[in-house]
Each structure stands twice: as structure tokens, then as C-alpha cells.
Symmetry: D2
């Protein structure tokens, strides 16, 4: 069986796991006050080029989005996001549960368009009943998006400059950041991100960790009393050093970069294999998620040997599917897939 369902189906990258084993018997203080967490923080700040910034670790993506958004928004604010965004669709209302409306704009291949954002904000403040409406208090995007696409530096700059004009934070969900940073033609590096948004997170769960996400900001004042906020949300891990150990491993020896590059390389091979057989993508994704339209016959043939997901309801003759690569995908997996398609 080969697995392309998602990037969270195996455990941790062996180098991450090895560090968890090596450090297992050590005693450290709890809740992220340990030396591993401190070193991981410093490593990340160095890679991001923001020595005065701050890093906080959390366990999972929905949790991270809920805590960060709840912290960035005033009580009577909402968060602007696209209709296909993860927080709007697949987090079971975790944002609204903390009292915040998601203000939905249409997406363009998963991306928020700068002009749509500008128009929305202009019209909001032009309407004199706006105190009766939910104020757009921040903007949420993801990089890569739910559809695997990435913003260019220019696109991000446009969005961020609108946010600064309206003095609202821009937050980037980087659940799959590794695969965006090392995508072909991507022109955004880790050092650029703190200058292109206010807060972002470096995804661990989908990028080689057992679990864990690292929230990064060059403006620590935005995440005030964040220990207490994490505790309040049930998001402060007792053995916090587990997060520090993993992120220290991910940012040592270029592991995060290697995971990102390898996932993208295999995704591109997968795409070539599909396209060589005449199967089309319905989204042109440069990252580790690949979206194809496959004949149902092909799907049926693959299913016993290969797992992947339908994207939306199946069609009559052909259906939309998603294939995802990750740290545990191998060249052999792609070869096997190629053989299956060729049979």
C-alpha cells in the first residue's frame, strides 16, 4: 500500500524522533520554560532574522489558529478570510466558539485577492451603520493555501500594505509552510515572512514533527500574556520541552528545508507521472498537495494499492482527487504509483 492521503499519516521524521528518544529521560521544568524550548526559539528567531521577535509553541493547527486569532482580535472584531480557508470550513467553528465571526471573501484558487480586500474594507467604513456590523479586526491567509497555491512576494506585499493602512494585523497560517517555502518559483523566504505579515506559524505536524506549531512574530506586543492565553485555551503543553526538542531538530542541519524540498520534489514527480498519462490538474499547485481529475476507472484501479482523497463529491465519469506527499513519501512510492498507472 502506498499513502498519499495526507501529510499527517506517519509519525515524526526519524531525526526528530531520535532527539525525542535521546532527551526522554532528562528532567526539565514544564510548560515551555526549559532549555530546549529556549534554544528552539532562538534558532527560529535567527533563521527569521528577528532577534527581538518572539516564538511560542503549540500542539496543533486548529488550536494555534484559535489562540492566535483570539489574541489578535478585540472582543467585537471578526477575522477576514476566504471562503475556502481552513478556519472557515474545517475547524468545526473553533474561531466562532471564542466569539469571533469569520468575514468571508471569495477566493481565487485558494488565495485572497488584494483588491477584493481593499474594496471590502473601504465599503465597510463607508457604511455609517458599521458599529452595528462586525469590524474586520485582522486578516487570515495561509501559505500555502488549502489548494496548495502560494502567494508571490508582490501579492503578499499588496495584502500587507492594505492591512497596515487599516492598522489590522495580518496572520499567516503556515501549517504546510515547508512545502511553500521550498516550492519552485517561490520568492519568499523565512527571513521575508516577518516583514510580510505580523504573525505567522511554522507548521510542524504536517512537516515532519510528531505534532507542534511554532508561532512567530516580530511584534511580541501583539501576543501579550500569551502563556496565560495558551493555558486558558487548554493549549499549554505540560511537557512543553517536547515541542522545543522537535523544533530544535527541525531547524538543525537544515531538516525543515530538506523535508520541504523533498516533499515538493516528489510532488512534482507525481504530477509529471499523472500528466504523462494525460490526467489533468484542476488546480496548478507548486507544493506538496496535487489535485487531479481522474477517470473513475483509474480511481477504482488504484484504490486497492494506493490511498488518496476525493476532493468534493465523486463525478459520474471522472472525479476530483487530492494526492499529498510528506516526509514519509519515497521515490519508491512514486515508482509504484507510476507502475500502477501504466498497467
Amino acid at each position: 500500500m502506498i499513502y498519499f492521503d495526507s501529510d499527517y499519516m506517519a509519525g515524526a521524521h526519524p531525526e526528530v524522533m531520535q532527539r525525542l528518544v535521546e532527551t526522554n529521560s532528562l528532567h526539565t521544568p514544564g510548560y515551555g520554560t526549559d532549555e530546549f524550548t529556549h534554544r528552539a526559539r532562538n534558532l527560529i528567531l535567527e533563521k527569521c532574522g528577528i532577534p527581538d521577535g518572539e516564538v511560542y509553541f503549540l500542539v496543533g493547527g486548529t488550536q494555534t489558529n484559535a489562540v492566535v486569532i483570539d489574541r489578535l482580535l478585540d472582543k467585537n472584531d471578526g477575522v477576514v478570510a476566504t471562503d475556502t480557508s481552513h478556519i472557515n470550513v474545517h475547524e468545526a467553528g473553533a474561531i466562532e466558539a471564542w466569539g469571533h465571526k469569520i468575514l468571508i471573501l471569495p477566493d481565487n484558487e485558494g488565495k485572497l485577492k488584494a483588491d477584493a480586500l481593499k474594496k471590502y474594507l473601504e465599503e465597510f467604513y463607508a457604511d455609517d451603520t458599521y458599529p452595528h456590523m462586525v469590524r474586520p479586526g485582522m486578516v487570515y491567509i495561509s501559505f500555502p493555501t488549502e489548494l496548495g497555491t502560494i502567494y508571490s512576494k508582490k501579492e503578499l506585499q499588496e495584502i500587507y500594505s492594505i492591512c497596515r493602512e487599516y492598522d489590522i494585523p495580518l496572520y499567516i497560517d503556515g501549517a504546510r509552510l515547508a512545502f511553500g517555502l521550498y516550492a519552485k518559483n517561490n520568492d519568499i523566504g523565512l527571513q521575508d515572512l516577518p516583514r510580510l505579515c505580523d504573525v505567522f506559524y511554522i507548521g510542524g505536524t504536517k512537516c515532519g514533527a510528531l505534532f507542534g506549531e511554532a508561532v512567530v512574530t516580530a511584534r511580541p506586543e501583539l501576543l501579550r500574556r500569551f502563556d496565560s492565553m495558551r493555558k486558558l485555551h487548554g493549549a499549554l503543553l505540560a511537557k512543553g520541552r517536547l515541542l522545543g526538542v522537535q523544533f530544535e531538530a527541525l531547524f538543525s542541519d537544515y531538516l525543515y528545508e530538506r523535508i520541504g524540498k523533498e516533499g515538493v520534489r516528489l510532488a512534482m514527480q507525481l504530477k509529471e507521472t499523472m500528466e504523462a498519462r494525460g490526467f489533468k490538474t484542476f488546480i496548478d499547485s507548486p507544493t506538496n498537495q496535487q489535485f487531479f481529475i481522474l477517470p473513475n476507472k483509474v480511481i477504482e484501479k488504484l484504490k486497492p494499492y494506493c490511498s488518496f482523497e476525493y476532493w468534493g463529491p465523486p463525478g459520474k465519469e471522472e472525479s476530483r482527487v487530492r494526492f499529498v506527499t510528506g516526509w514519509s513519501t519515497t521515490d519508491a512510492d512514486i515508482s509504484t504509483l507510476t507502475s500502477l498507472l501504466e498497467e
Copy 2:
């Protein structure tokens, strides 16, 4: 000056006010445990034909929507509503503040379409990731809608039968119910409503009261511990008898009906006056809200003598405007408007 801005710009209908004055010096127990509230409740149950039903009084519309929706939904549920619905647009996030997502469907002249609702519910349960999504726990519509339109009995029956199929309550916001019940061609009476939905409210604030809304249900078990829920929401009026006194007045001597009929009659005159001058409506509303496209010149001419609202941003040559009649609108107001238009 003549006023067509909205239906909450004057105080209470004189017959309501008179009862408040007459009863002012009486002593009653608080929080709605008084005889006036009891009598108003019984009057409403009788008019609705549901002797075993229940009625609860609240102060305002946003409050009522927030309390009822919070009561009807389980904690991890959302409420289905149209994108133009009041709760989605003009209540400053009061629904989300209590943790509930609004699940938005496109509207058709302000109305929810039964087939769109059915399709949405079918697809929701067909998606096996639905535990990661917000469950549609109830449906919210208004009668009349934000755009003054009304549902036919057949349309309501279709919506309600879908709700029953999925076992989720249907709630009707009746902020302007009087003007819907007595609209031309309306085929729904107060006695029908308890059979066409699970909970609805009879609007007072916009229909002749100083303030107040009456929540009605034929299924009292749906609104369990509603005293405590109202208190929790800051929605339990200390001098609760003020609501009882007002609703007793509104449902005595056919006052609510008279207010509804008169508002509609004047709205229809207003429409005729406009159409006679060649001005078109952009929504064909049979109720007390009327929506016209007026040349900006006409708007400028009217403004010093007549108040009304823009509906959306003004256009270059002509703009969309809303005129509203209410208990305090008179024939003289319409005559004055007619004269102003003829000048």
C-alpha cells in the same frame, strides 16, 4: 419634516402608551411574574391557537435572536441563514459572540430557497469529514425579510418540511411581523405560524410598542429554562410587566392588526405615488418597507423635507433608497411626499 427612515423612530402607539400610563403606579412582582405578562401571554396563545404553547417576552430584536438561537443550538452547532439576513449583517456578531457560526446560503430577494437548503444539508451529511465542520443545528429566516418580501405558505411549508426531515428547528424572526401578516396576498395567519415553524417572535419595537418582542412556540420543551437563559444574556427585564402591559394592549381591540394593515396601506400608497412618477422599485415588496431607484436630483430635492435611507452606496445618476412606514405614518405624510415629488 416627514419621516420614512424606519419604523422605530417614534415612541409607542398611543393606545400602548395609554396603558403604560394607566398602570404606572401599580405594584407588581418583577421579571415577568406579574398578571399583565400572564394575560398578554394568554392572549397571544389564544390568537395563535396553541393553548399548550408558551410565550416569553424580551426587550429588543438582536437580544431576542441571540437568546433564542443560543437556546436552540447545541454548543457545536451553527445556524443556517441567508447572506442578507439581519443576524449575518447588522447585529455586530451577537450570534457568534455566543459561539455559533452563521452558515450562509445565498438569498433570493431576501428569502431562503428550499432547494438550496435541501442541497446544503444533503451535501453536509454526504461529506464524511463533517465532524470537522459546523453542524447546521437550526434554520433562521425572517418574515417579512430584510428586503420586505414575504414567504408564501407553500414556500414556508417546503422549508419547514426539510427542517423536520433533518430534525432541526426552524425559527422565524418576526421583527416586522405585523406588516407581513397584513400584506396583500399574504396567505399566512398568526394561527398558521406555530404549524409552519418551531419558534417565532412577534415584533413589538417596530410594530407599535415602545420596545419588546414576544417569543412564541408550540413546543415549550425547546426553550427550556428560558428565565435563566434570559437572565444570563442580560435580557430579563426587572419591571417585566412593561412588556406584558404593551403586548396586552397590542393584542386587544385588534391593535396589532390595525397597525399592520395601516402601515401596509400607507406603504402601498407610497409605492403608487412613486410609480406614478415613473420611479421604479428594485425589490417588489408588499410590506411596509419600500425600495426605490431614485434620480439623485429627486433625492436632493426631497432631503430637506423628508427623511429616508440610502440602500447601499449612492450611484452617479440615481441611487437606491428605502422608505418605511410605521404606526406614526399618516395620510398627510403621503400627501406631503406626493406634493414634494410633483413640484
Copy 3:
């Protein structure tokens, strides 16, 4: 029947009611943007001696406490209050419903003691696990307290100076403010309050209005975006001018003062009457709430002619009861009570 149950059992003081009647047919814009609200605001600011302050009107006390406290607290903050405080006991969890813990200190005849507050705050910050605890983000007291007692100016100054030392707002619930301001030996005036706390409210519901509370602050920046906050809480009255009209009446011709003085005068007469018969108070209250220990025989004799409340569960031989005077209490009521006791 004579009524001493509470101060919210009759309607509005006739002078307030008269103004509501006189202004009933006028048209004004909604949501407190009218001239009455503006004038009431200015009158209150003038009486309080804070021309640069701000005033906001709400409908009821629980609502006011919930909105103000939710606005003053950061998301991970709690409010310090005494165990007998109204928000802790009789508001059905309306503070916690918005996510805020009530941090309870023992009371002294209903009052918060400065030294207990100081000790609590010192110990909180001395405990290095405090990010895992709820931060005391503000202090809530009431004037008069739930037990009718009042703070001296010196006591308030001590509390407020501790709050300033810890940079947390002090908020005073003035549901029965009129009866505190005009209590015998009270040394605090309306002009003092803005200098003795950060935010307070002037109670209307229990002091002569049909309903309504006026939130006052000399530091408007503390109540930022308060229109939106009120809307979010379902606490922004559509016909907002009703609050303006009432508070304009209350602060014209010394009405609020007259109501306060008269309520206190009658309460003192009531107390004398009781004491003359040998019945003891269990709290020595100088305001309109009076607390007596009455033999059950006396209670039984009074009940058919006079209403009042038990304070706690009835005892075997004697029970604790509360008598309250208000704008509608008369000298005749006291005489009748006296006669009843003498029989």
C-alpha cells in the same frame, strides 16, 4: 396592601412618565443618536463635573454589568468582587457567560475591604505560577452594596489607590446610587465618584425610571467602541431616546436627588418604627434597604397586608427579612405599617 418587596415594583416616577408621554410622538434617529440622549449625557457630565467624560445608556443592571466588565477586562482576566456581590450571586452567570471568572473575596457587611484586596493582589503576583491563574483585571464593588451599606470616601480612596497601584480599573455598580448618595452620613457626591473610580453607573431602574442605567466615566478610552460592544451584547436599545428622555428627566429639577432623599427618609422612618417596637436590624443600613430580624408571629400578622422578602431561609422562631422603600413608597405606607405593628 403596602409594598416593601423591592424598588422595581412600580413603573416610573410620574415626572419621568410625563416626559415619555410628552415626547412620544416625536421622530428621532435610533440607537441613542438623538438629541434627548445627547442632552441627558451632557447633564450627567455636568453634574459629575467631568466635561471630557462620557456617558452610555443601557437597559438593565445585569446587562450593564456584563457589558462594562466584558469591555474593561482583557480576555484572560477575571473581576475581583465580594462573595455577596450581585454579579456573584444573582446574575445567573452573566459575567462568566462572557468568559470571565469572578475572583471572590470575603465581604464585610457587603463591602470589600481594602486590606483584603491588597493582600490578595500581593499574593497573586508573589506566586510564580500566576500565568496559570486568572489575572485580577479589575475590581467590582457596588454603592450602596447588596446589604444597603455604603463606603466612606476614605474607604473608597483606599480601594481605588490599590487599584491604581496595580493599574486595574475600579468599577462601581450604582443600581441604587440615589439611595447611597443621599444617605445620612454619606460623604461622597456625584462629583466625587469620577475621581474615586474609573467607571460607575447611575441606576435608573431602581431609582425612578421605567428602566435604564447610565454608565459614566472620566476615562472614555476605557470604553472603546462601546456602541459595537452594546450591540454585540444585545444591549443597544433601538428607540434609544427612551433612555435619554428618562435620564434627562431624572437630572432635571433635582429629581434624582429628591427620589434618593425621599427613599432614605422613609427608610429611616421605617427603621425607627421597627426599632420602637423592639425589632432589631441584622445589618445597619443607612439606605433604602432595611434588614430586620422579626418574630415569625409578626411576619404572619403582616403578610396579608404588607409585602416584603425573606432574607435567607426562615428560622424557627424568628426570621430575617428585608424591607425596601422606593419612589412609590409614601408616608401613608409607613403609617399603615406602624399601625399593623401596633395592633
Copy 4:
């Protein structure tokens, strides 16, 4: 250095860690739908003797308490707990953040007293203003308590029978359950717990896991739609199998029992060592937390070589301290401590 600060300072028990390593490269579906989770669930149900019960896994204790309590309570309910309980003191308001008041009763050495609970519930319903108060909707206790003490079976039965009388669930926080189950004189087994309460959790984080808590109930209907509830709370782990793998390890080869027994054995040795030197306990705990009053001189002597926590503010001559044993404590640690004390 020897460590007695707490039981979450080292990683996972080696047998747990070994299983995580062995299963690391396997692919499984996410969110707890994997075979490991299924097997762990079945193992636990078997050990508890409730084949028709249900088990859900979460990441940490605060999170577990917040999700379970939010699920068990109706919206206008609070949870009864002692003043020293973890949810009341050290969870940063995570319960109130979801809208629920903690209804505080005084504790007796960390334990809730059945008669105090009964009196509280009786008085609540005897007070006819109870709809204005927060309804006690469930009872929370912990086993062992924050002070290391345990309930006898008789004590638990008394509490549970009161809960059943009032038809409110009893929930037991078992963060340190292993050390309670295997405490000397404990007469409660895993098979008893489902009959002595409605929901409880088996602590992993403090009892040998890297992280993780297992919520168990014999009444699955109480935890309806719990996947969605966990997701909503940000508490549904993507690689859910990590929890299954760990709990399968803990409940194989009697590991949980061995960890519990060993922690208790070492704690008793530690206590003997202390008592042999004349140092008194201020709580007589039979579990892995031990509470002593030590002369400050002794504390100073130990500090460079041994870590432990102050319990409250230090005293002038002597102070209260807590020593905790866990899976990583060894006989050698106790010997070293003994030597340090003897010097």
C-alpha cells in the same frame, strides 16, 4: 541533581517511548480513527469492565477538563467544585472561558464533603430566586485530589448518590489516577470507577505518557458528538494514533499499575525518610505527592542538589513544601535525599 518538583518533568516511560518508536513509520488515518486508538479504547473498556462504554483521548488535563465540563453542562449551568480544585485555581479560567461558573464549596484536605454538597443543593432549590442564580449542573472532583488525598469508596458512593438524586453528572479528574488506584488502603479499583461516577479520565501525562488523557464513561450518551466538541476546542490531535499507541502501552503488561505502585512505594519511602528525621507532613497523603513542613535551613541545604516546590509563601523559620515522585523517580533518588538530610 534529584528531582521531586512534579511528575511531568521527564518524558515518557521507556516502554511507552519504545512503542512510539516502533510504530513511527506506519501510516494510519488521522484524528483517532486508527487501529491503535481502537485497541487502546477496547483495552481500557475491558479493564474498566464496561464493554458498552466509550473512551476518548485528549492531549492534556486542562483541555480535558474544559471539553468534558463544557459537554456535560447546559449553557446556563455551573460546575460544583472545591475551592482548592485544579479547575478553580490553576487553569487560568479555562472553564469560565467557555461560559461556566465554578460553584465553590470549601474543601476538607482537598476533598469535597458529601454533606456540604447536599446542603448546598438543598438550599439552592429552596431559594425561589434560583432562576437568577447559576444552576449546579454537575460535580467535579479529582482522584487523587490536589492535596494527594483519596476518597474512600464509601465517600464516593455518598457523593454519587447525591448527584443521582439531583440528576447531575459526577465527573472525576484522574490526572494522577495511577497513584490513587495503587495507594495504600485505597479500596477503589478501575472497575469500580464507572459505577461511582458518570465520566472520569485516566491521566497519562503525569503517569508515564509523553502526554495524553483518556476520558471514560459507561454512559456514552453524555458525551454526544464528542469528535466535534474536541475539534471545536482545538483538542482533536491530527496524529491521533499517538494517543492510542501510548495508552495501549500503558494498559499492556500492567504498565499503568506498575507505574502507580512504584510511584507510591517511593513516595512512602520518601515520607518515612522525612519522618525519621522529625519532619512533619501537613497533609497525610497516601499518594505520590507528599507535603512537608521543613525548616528553612534544611530547605537551603537541599536546594543545590534536589528540586521540589514551595506550597504557598515561605515562612520565617519553616516552610511548606511538596515532593512528588513519578515514573522516573528511582530508589537511588530516595537514597540521595536520605543522605542529604543526614549530612
